[in-house]
Symmetry: C2
Subunit: 255 residues, 2 copies
């Protein structure tokens, strides 16, 4: 089982879209794929038609009831090989509740250890904020995917994310491999090409060699609740995420 | 002094862009305008060329040193009538530190009471998450601006934001007026026009009658660090925010 986290403290950069679309590619290739929604706002949960305000079996139970069997919290989606562990809005209170308690950073990794036989890939969608849920995602994953919108504010946000990553790595004493994925690239704008050049200059070692282009079909896909990669494989957004999946699976030489 | 908060728990919907561009309109009309960055990620702070990882005088000091004079934390910007109270990334730890302590929801309103003589308008930019900083913003403002991207996931996010608002209002026992602002409207996409129709159907009473169109110049403006409304008043994004400013100032019959 391979665990990927998709994170960036900047909002609206395409984290949920990346998690959903990559999961669609993995599922369509026959990999049993689990999506986990670690965002209390529940975009991923809403994408699949569930309500984060009302869902009973959610990630929150893993924190509130350490004996719960994680398998019972997983929902089917209408797509073959694709499963979801939804978020609940109650997760927004976890930072305040857990405060300085130690050991709460390993809740997700402990749950995933119990699920290792059931899935080939796990994709964790994160909230745009720094807290106990992000710490859990970074502790649980073996590869971090950082979507970065190709524009100025988001580039600044990338430095912040890498700063957070090095803090977490230092305390966990392990090096976490990561890939930076340029998203919403619009070659018609100067800001787009300038930002991409800047990314290539300062982060070339961990930067994916291609880009996810701007594609209005992503919005249509989220309205329909169908990952774009399952809805129309020839759409340019789908093609780009398929290339990304090939890179990630090959790059990690994951068997 | 009129205090506006710009908030939505969904990420990337145009909160920072709305705060900055509206502030530019107010400042250009001669109103002394203060921008406050309540997002630990510090997009607004970075927009004006400051570094949220290194800034010493920031919002964080208001929480860590209750005797500090808020006036000393305010920085000039290079724009006339426009001032900034920056964010520090240290603010990300406030929820964990303050935990269940009471009374920490009034830190910002207490600071603003000391500044009432100095400014005509205050605009508070919020992070895309629910926590002590959002509670502070809702307690301190007299009008809430909720930017909503005209697409499915963001509409779902609006329900969440309104749910949060009603929870906060109940405990504060006051009704907070709010305006929903459709952003990044792209009339070429079906998802855009369908979402706008849906907003008009279910939220017509608090919905602004117009929209902020998609405009690539916003990205250029953030790269240059100049609010679009100060950079080029005739640009369609600027014109839309000027109309919004007229609506907000007139609607509230603010003298
Ligand atoms: N490549 C793309 N082209 C065009 N639109 C896109 C693209 N990727 C994502 N979007 C759209 O941009 C918006 C933000 O994307 P998404 O919700 O995935 O970002 P996020 O980083 O998960 O946001 P949050 O910080 O709220 O979790 C959505 O409306 C989505 O449909
Ligand atoms: N009307 C618009 N048209 C086109 N691009 C826009 C528009 N408004 C904002 N943007 C761009 O969209 C991106 C997200 O905007 P912004 O950072 O203001 O959102 P936010 O809600 O503050 O995000 P966060 O949740 O991270 O705080 C930025 O690149 C910005 O330049
Ligand atoms: Mg998301
Ligand atoms: Mg912002």
């Amino acid at each position: 089982m391979k665990v990927w986290a998709v994170a960036n403290q900047k909002g609206g950069v395409g984290k949920t879209t990346t998690a959903v679309t990559l999961a669609g590619v993995f599922a369509s290739r026959g990999y049993r794929t689990l999506l986990i929604d670690l965002d209390p706002h529940g975009s991923l949960t809403a994408y699949f038609g569930m309500d984060p305000d009302r869902v009973e079996q959610s990630v929150y139970r893993l924190f509130s009831d350490t004996m719960v069997d994680p398998e019972r919290l997983i929902s089917d989606t209408r797509f073959e090989n694709l499963f979801l562990l939804p978020a609940s809005t109650a997760m927004a209170t976890l930072d305040r509740q857990l405060g300085a308690q130690t050991g709460k950073g390993l809740v997700i990794v402990n749950a995933l250890n119990k699920l290792a036989e059931h899935f080939d890939h796990v994709l964790i969608d994160c909230a745009p904020s720094l807290g106990i849920l992000l710490v859990n995602a970074l502790a649980a994953c073996s590869h971090l995917i950082i979507p970065v919108q190709t524009e100025f504010l988001a580039l600044k946000g990338l430095e912040r994310m890498l700063h957070t990553l090095s803090m977490v790595q230092r305390s966990a004493r392990r090096e976490l491999p990561y890939t930076i994925v340029p998203t919403m690239f619009d070659r018609r704008t100067r800001a787009g090409t300038l930002s991409l050049d800047q990314l290539r200059e300062s982060h070339s070692a961990r930067l994916w060699s291609s880009v996810i282009p701007v594609d209005t079909q992503f919005r249509e896909a989220s309205r329909a609740g169908i990952p774009l990669s399952l809805r129309s494989a020839t759409d340019r957004g789908s093609v780009a995420y398929t290339e990304l999946a090939d890179f990630l699976l090959h790059d990690d030489s994951y068997a």
